[in-house]
């Protein structure tokens, strides 16, 4: 079963990718829209290439990032309740984006928003690593992350609170809900380099995460350096989750629920969970983004909202199952 899991998840992602390409506001059949993707010169070709393709690609990229970072974070902290947001990077990225909207910069230069978000994510990484100290264990990392997260959240609230411009406030609130609509290839090219670096860093952690199953002391005695792993984890998470937040806003629950959902299927090995959770994340984000367009096509339903609506009951179900196992 474990052997078939990755191909099955990859197939699921491929199917949802096609679904994401072919479902949308402009009505067109499956074959018609796929043909237009390659050669169509008319409006359908434009819609496919300029709107739906980047949207589907972003769905895959963001899902991979959130799923992978969630699995790595849970593995490192040895806690199934951990998620990528725990180190404060997504809140800091959101703060950067909110500031750029509030100051009117993003209206003048649209690329300022993701750039500010990435810049604040980098700032948060520096702050978290400084606070956590060079020798500290996983607890100091969590505490530092919570502190940075709380600070970024407070500052975001302050920006909203002091906002003199109701339109900016409206835009900020909607941006914070998280969405993939109206994104272009520019967003893909902004996020992709950071995400590729992040994926590369996080995927090297597999063996070390397995060893950490036995605790930091035992892992260190087996030649694994928890300190080096922590650095790679924070940098990798910042690169890919920071980039995801920068282009799509805050999308929660993926990094929390997906590793949890797939852990049993991979025999709970943290290294095996990394690729599985990445693919699972991509499938979940694509599915939710398709659902956004199917359920109420005429309203701009936000992806982050749908994700929370899917994620929270799923999480409740997982808690119930875990409780059944413990008792």
């Amino acid at each position: 079963m474990t052997r078939l899991l990755l191909p099955a998840l990859a197939l699921l992602v491929a199917l949802l990718f096609v679904a994401s390409l072919t479902i949308g506001y402009t009505p067109a059949g499956l074959g018609e829209s796929l043909a237009a993707l390659g050669t169509g010169d008319g409006p359908l070709g434009l819609v496919m290439r300029e709107i739906r393709l980047p949207r589907a690609l972003l769905g895959v990229m963001i899902g991979l990032s959130l799923g992978l970072a969630g699995a790595a974070m849970q593995g490192y902290l040895r806690n199934p309740l951990a998620e990528p947001g725990i180190v404060g990077i997504s809140s800091a990225a959101a703060l950067g984006a909110v500031l750029s909207i509030q100051l009117g910069l993003s209206a003048a230069f649209p690329l300022i928003l993701p750039a500010a978000a990435l810049g604040f994510a980098a700032l948060a990484v520096g702050l978290v690593l400084m606070l956590a100290g060079p020798r500290g264990g996983s607890i100091t990392l969590i505490l530092a992350g919570i502190a940075v997260s709380a600070l970024a959240g407070a500052l975001t609230s302050l920006v909203l609170n002091l906002s003199p411009n109701p339109y900016a406030t409206y835009e900020i609130v909607f941006w914070m809900l998280g969405s993939l609509s109206d994104r272009s290839f520019t967003h893909v090219w902004i996020a992709l380099p950071f995400m590729v670096v992040g994926w590369g860093l996080l995927l090297t952690l597999g063996r070390g995460l397995d060893a950490l199953t036995l605790g930091e002391d035992a892992a260190e005695a087996m030649g694994v350096s928890p300190r080096r792993m922590r650095l790679l984890l924070v940098l990798g998470t910042a690169a890919c989750v920071g980039a995801a937040t920068a282009v799509a806003g805050a999308i929660g629950f993926v990094g929390l629920v997906v590793p949890h959902l797939l852990r049993r299927a991979v025999g709970a090995r943290p290294s095996a969970l990394l690729p599985a959770s990445a693919l699972g994340g991509a499938a979940l984000v694509l599915a939710a983004d398709v659902a956004v367009r199917l359920v109420v096509p005429d309203r701009d339903l936000k992806l982050g909202v749908v994700m929370a609506l899917i994620g929270a009951p799923l999480f409740l179900h997982l808690i119930r199952r875990t409780r059944g196992e413990v008792l």
Binding site: T213, A218, A268
Partner: protein, 250 residues
């Protein structure tokens, strides 16, 4: 196998391990004994290089990857974070030997099989490790350390919490390993088992090495009073050395 020269580990300015020197040879089964807070765990972690220490330790001086092939370390906290199979836990012991990004080779599987057999865990191979009892988990973690296949094995209270049969079986397994040329250093609280199975006892008290020698040389009434505050019965008969603590000295 292991040489410590004036090893000192401080917590703040207070030395928790105070200038301990020790030379350990091949084939020894050393029981590291001493009351709570004597510095047994700190001595082992300092010797391994897991804590910053002054003085010399031949293990801490090794490059990290090489050290992991020389010594297996079983911390006192028996942590198995995820519900993985027993075989997966034991196979983690092969971590230092696997080629970069490589899958387990036949010799890795053989080492895992041997470690499982040694601890009598063949029937548990596919069980979920976190669902086993505490004593069974302890045996799984000992098997993990054995699978690391190192000349030296250091274990912090490996038999605490095991039932009597499992305690004796584990001590015998360690003695067998020592007879085969491995070296074992185990922190122990059960002086009776230490006296029966260890070839050498090192006594720690208040951060210092208080005594070092065979059980007969070490477990004298004077030392027991000084280091442990105990009076005990110790005899050597046809059933081997028998040690039983009798009463606490005022």
């Amino acid at each position: 196998m292991l040489t410590l020269d004036a090893l000192t580990v401080r917590r703040g300015t207070c030395p928790v391990v105070d200038s301990v020197s020790l030379t350990v040879g091949k084939g020894e089964f050393i029981g590291l004994i001493g009351p709570n807070g004597a510095g047994k765990t700190t001595l082992m972690r300092g010797a391994l290089g897991l804590l910053p220490a002054e003085g010399q330790s031949s293990l801490a001086a090794l490059p990290v990857a090489e050290r992991a092939r020389q010594v297996a370390w079983m911390p006192q906290a028996r942590e198995i974070a995820w519900p993985v199979s027993v075989e997966t836990v034991v196979a983690l012991g092969r971590t230092p030997w696997l080629p970069r990004g490589g899958r387990p080779r036949p010799e890795d599987r053989a080492a895992v099989d041997m470690a499982l057999a040694r601890m009598g865990l063949e029937a548990f191979r596919d069980r979920i490790a976190t669902r086993l009892s505490g004593g069974e988990q302890a045996r799984v973690l000992i098997a993990r350390a054995l699978a690391q296949d190192t000349p030296l094995l250091m274990a912090d209270e490996p038999i605490a919490g095991l039932d009597p049969a499992a305690q004796i079986a584990t001590m015998e397994a360690f003695a067998t390993l020592a007879a085969e040329g491995h070296t074992i250093i185990a922190a122990l609280h059960d002086l009776g088992l230490a006296a029966r199975h260890c070839s050498r006892l090192v006594v720690m008290a208040r951060g210092r090495k208080e005594a070092d020698g065979t059980p007969q040389e070490v477990l004298t009434p004077d030392l027991l009073a000084r280091a442990f505050g105990l009076r005990a019965h110790f005899s050597d008969g046809p059933d081997g050395p028998i040690f039983q603590p009798l009463s606490v000295l005022g």
